[in-house]
Subunit: 240 residues, 2 copies
């Protein structure tokens, strides 16, 4: 659908996925992993550990999302996933304080280069919220650390589940008092957009080819409303 049509359809709210869409989790984790590795004279590849960690956390969220496991905050799932990696990457020499520090590294991640300026521009035309698997406190930390300005922080913690549980998306129109089609999910991850579309939301796919350092963005296998190269491009396409 052309962006001009969207504007006519009274788009009011943009809901942003955060990790990988707004902030660079990989870069942030690599920095912290490299610092800790140097301190302990560990010979790890920070990128490899960061990628493995992120991949290992996802099935834990999925178990919660499917109702197979009680809700725990993303910090707790990150800690569980990290503990799984200790043997795999020979991280046995890390102390409890080191593990805490790594879990907290997820609260302090650099914004993607276009994020701060793009969000500011989009906020002049739309209500801009997060819709992230990070907990409320975590997202507040992420926004403060990266200098991001949202109108509102929405976390899947508020419904004690994780994306793609449909209840997480329904929060956006419900709490922000718009119809589902007046809200657009903005994410670099097709699974997230597909689930948002199933709840009647509009979808903007943002290409983030360096999320995993591969140069290849995931490609949605369904029709999204907008595909954008970054938030500046998104703003232009939405007339903001």
């Amino acid at each position: 659908m052309a962006a001009a049509n969207l504007a006519r359809q009274d788009l009011k709210v943009l809901a942003f996925d955060v990790f990988g869409t707004v902030v660079d989790w990989r870069k942030g984790l690599m920095t912290e992993l490299a610092a800790i590795a140097q301190q302990h004279q560990l010979t790890i590849n920070p990128a490899e550990v960061a990628d493995a960690w992120r991949r290992r956390a996802r099935p834990l969220m999925d178990r919660v999302s499917r109702g197979e496991m009680a809700f725990q905050l993303l910090d707790d799932l990150h800690r569980a996933a990290l503990l799984e990696l200790v043997a795999e990457f020979s991280l046995e020499s890390l102390s409890q304080a080191d593990l805490d520090r790594l879990v907290l590294a997820w609260h302090n991640l650099p914004p993607l280069p276009d994020a701060v300026a793009g969000l500011a521009r989009l906020r002049t035309h739309f209500v801009v919220t997060t819709l992230s698997n990070g907990g409320m406190a975590m997202l507040v930390d992420v926004a403060r650390a990266a200098g991001l300005s949202f109108d509102c922080i929405l976390s899947t913690e508020l419904v004690k589940s994780y994306k793609p549980d449909p209840r997480t998306y329904r929060m956006v129109p419900s709490l922000l008092a718009v119809r589902p089609e007046q809200a657009m999910m903005v994410a670099a991850h097709p699974y997230d957009l597909k689930a948002a579309a199933a709840q009647g939301m509009r979808t903007a796919f943002v290409r983030r080819p360096q999320e995993w350092g591969t140069g290849k963005a995931e490609v949605p296998d369904f029709a999204v409303d907008i595909t954008a190269d970054d938030f500046i491009d998104l703003a232009s396409q939405l007339g903001a």
Copy 2:
């Protein structure tokens, strides 16, 4: 308790009441009431109607807070309270659109003179959230219209109740991941601070003697942690 002690006790979060503490509901409503009165050639005293409206909404919130009435958004309670005033102030000539416009006037209120600068200064040292009886969408509107910048919007809508229901205050430490004593309720209303203190939160009473145009601030009949003349004074006392 001296502010220096509070800093040592690791204060992290400031939770702000909004209507009457951050924004001037009376001035905003008077402006809109005066405009509508002129349009319909009504001879009302806008201040009198504004004050009566605010007073009439409170018992409705109390009924919800005590569990005697199902939760409805503050917009709906404002509408119900306004309908009660129609006969009293001879507002029968107002159309549905006029009533809608008045209910929406609560979304577009001027900030109190120190609010924007005070919040900005406090945000450099503390996580700054709302804790208001306004719904999430309403609070987002209020913040945008008044140019206010919060780290997070918390509404009693999230627990489907109203202050002083204890559950509304417990949200603050729970969602922002601090101990209750690391969070401070900031309000111009003693009832609000008393209920926050009962949940272990710190309290800052801000004098707003013109909330009802009387020049007299309510005075707490219990010990608050801080009494401040405005948010600038609060920031100074908290070392921000």
